[in-house]
Amino acid sequence: MKVRVNPIDCAAHGLCAELLPEWIQLDEWGYPAIDGDELPEQLVAHARRAAAACPTLALRLQDG
């Protein structure tokens, strides 16, 4: 599973970086920079929580 952001929908609320700091860092404008690698198993639950919490639903989890 991989984490992606729809950069058009993203409005830099930054919740994702708070809920998944191991995988997501914010740039200096507040937009998430996301590790593109396969998400480790132990972070999947956190990633789901981050995606559900995104106010614009820009954060996506993708298989493969």
Binding site: P7, C10, D27, G30, Y31
Partner: protein, 418 residues
């Protein structure tokens, strides 16, 4: 290095001076033969044609993917030519519109399309020519002319699909890619107009003929737009793929000895110093190996008299203004990069900008819905490498005297000039 017998081979550009009428077209090319769908797909595959819009993806494979889609498909011919330093698509459309329209019909039949579009920038001088050309034809598959607003990213694939579907010419998030789900949610083939002109020739003469010139792996001919000293004016030339940058520039009247560097691939492309550029082959593979990209076949020679830093700053400012403003990293990052370069070129630079610029050039690419920020960053990054000595001089407060002189690299809007 691939050897080339002659600097130019006239195929797509044959009869460019004989007028754009259907009668003139039929005189120089004859009629479009009726080729069964599967046979044309095989022919385009076997030809080895790579798309001429910039990415260089195999046209045959793209057509086959769309043809395999469910139900009726759609074809969009992209003649927008967003790159300011390019002129080949507009020239092709104004001089030989029927060759492109033949290719569009052939491709549409081959992929099972029921409707076709031809997209050009609103206000392009190709528009009246295309209206006249469409009125002259009795095509099986109707072609609708789509007028695209003048923004650079409006001609990006997903933006064209979005424009046709919703009237908004802005890129969209992928997947789905247009070949999966595009115009009216149907599998959509988006093909550059030069690629379609080549398809029209392949339909007539077959893949073996197509492969008789050019590079063995990336065969055929290529329209190149070149500009540079002495007179800077743009010229379009058709050369076999694999022709060197030096040979191509010489054939268009650009004097490489008067150039300090050559921009290969346009404003999404890569700078090479003049000596390094000379022997580079015009192939995707060859240029990739040299750290560049062929893009849409654009060469710009920068005169020795120009200030490379000021030119880079001006183009970076243009590219920042061309952001659709949809994605944060592009919306914020490109203006920050452009501002730093402008300060470097003309004054106001400070020490902290060095690490900041390096950081922005690292953090911005790969994070937009489209590739606009990636291309802009590549342009700036290679400029900083190739013009490192000039950059160092500017940083230490010794800008070249030419930084105030008239701009050389073309940008369409005067407000981005400084």
């Amino acid at each position: 290095m691939s050897a080339t017998a002659a600097p130019t081979t006239v195929r797509v550009s044959v009869g460019f001076d004989d007028g754009p009428s259907l009668a003139a077209h039929l005189r120089r090319h004859g009629g479009l033969p009726v080729v069964p769908a599967e046979q044309l797909l095989d022919a385009v595959d076997a030809s080895g044609l790579l798309g001429r819009g910039g990415a260089g993806f195999p046209t045959g494979r793209k057509m086959r993917t769309v043809a395999a889609g469910k139900g009726a498909t759609v074809v969009v011919a992209n003649g927008c030519e967003g790159e300011p330093a390019s002129g080949k698509d507009t020239l092709l459309l104004t001089r030989s519109p029927h060759l492109v329209l033949d290719g569009l019909q052939a491709a549409a039949s081959a992929v099972g399309a029921k409707s076709a579009y031809l997209a050009v920038h609103a206000g392009s001088r190709a528009v009246p020519v295309l209206r006249a050309a469409l009125a002259e034809r009795r095509d099986r598959i109707g072609v609708e002319l789509v007028l695209v607003p003048g923004r650079y990213v409006a001609s990006e694939e997903t933006a064209l699909v979005n424009l046709i579907n919703t009237g908004t010419a802005l890129p969209t998030f992928t997947p789905p890619r247009p070949f999966e789900r595009g115009v009216r949610r149907r599998p959509t083939l988006i093909s550059n107009v030069e690629s379609l002109a080549q398809v029209a020739l392949i339909a007539r003469h077959g893949p073996s003929w197509f492969r008789t010139v050019g590079d063995a792996d990336e065969p055929g001919t290529l329209l190149v737009t070149a500009s540079g000293p002495p007179d800077i004016r743009r010229a379009v030339i058709e050369v076999p793929t694999g022709t060197t940058v030096g040979t191509t520039l010489a054939a268009t009247g650009v004097d490489l000895a008067q150039c300090q560097a050559v921009l290969v691939g346009g404003y999404f492309g890569t700078w090479f110093d003049a000596a390094a550029a000379d022997e580079l082959p015009l192939t995707h593979r060859g240029l990739r190996a040299a750290g560049g990209a062929l893009g849409a076949g654009i060469l710009v020679g920068l005169p020795r008299t120009a200030c490379a830093v000021a030119e880079t700053a001006r183009v970076a400012t243009f590219l920042a203004e061309q952001s659709a403003g949809q994605c944060g990293p592009c919306l914020n990052g490109l203006p920050a990069i452009a501002d730093a370069l402008t300060r470097l070129a003309h004054g106001g630079w400070h020490r902290e900008l060095g690490p900041a610029l390096d950081r922005w050039l690292t953090v911005v690419p790969g994070r937009g819905a489209c590739r606009h920020p990636d291309g802009a960053v590549r342009f700036v990054s290679t400029a900083l490498q190739v013009f490192a000595a000039d950059v160092a001089a500017h940083r230490s407060g010794r800008p070249c005297p030419a930084h105030r002189s008239a701009p050389v690299l073309p940008v369409p809007t005067p407000r981005s000039a400084r």
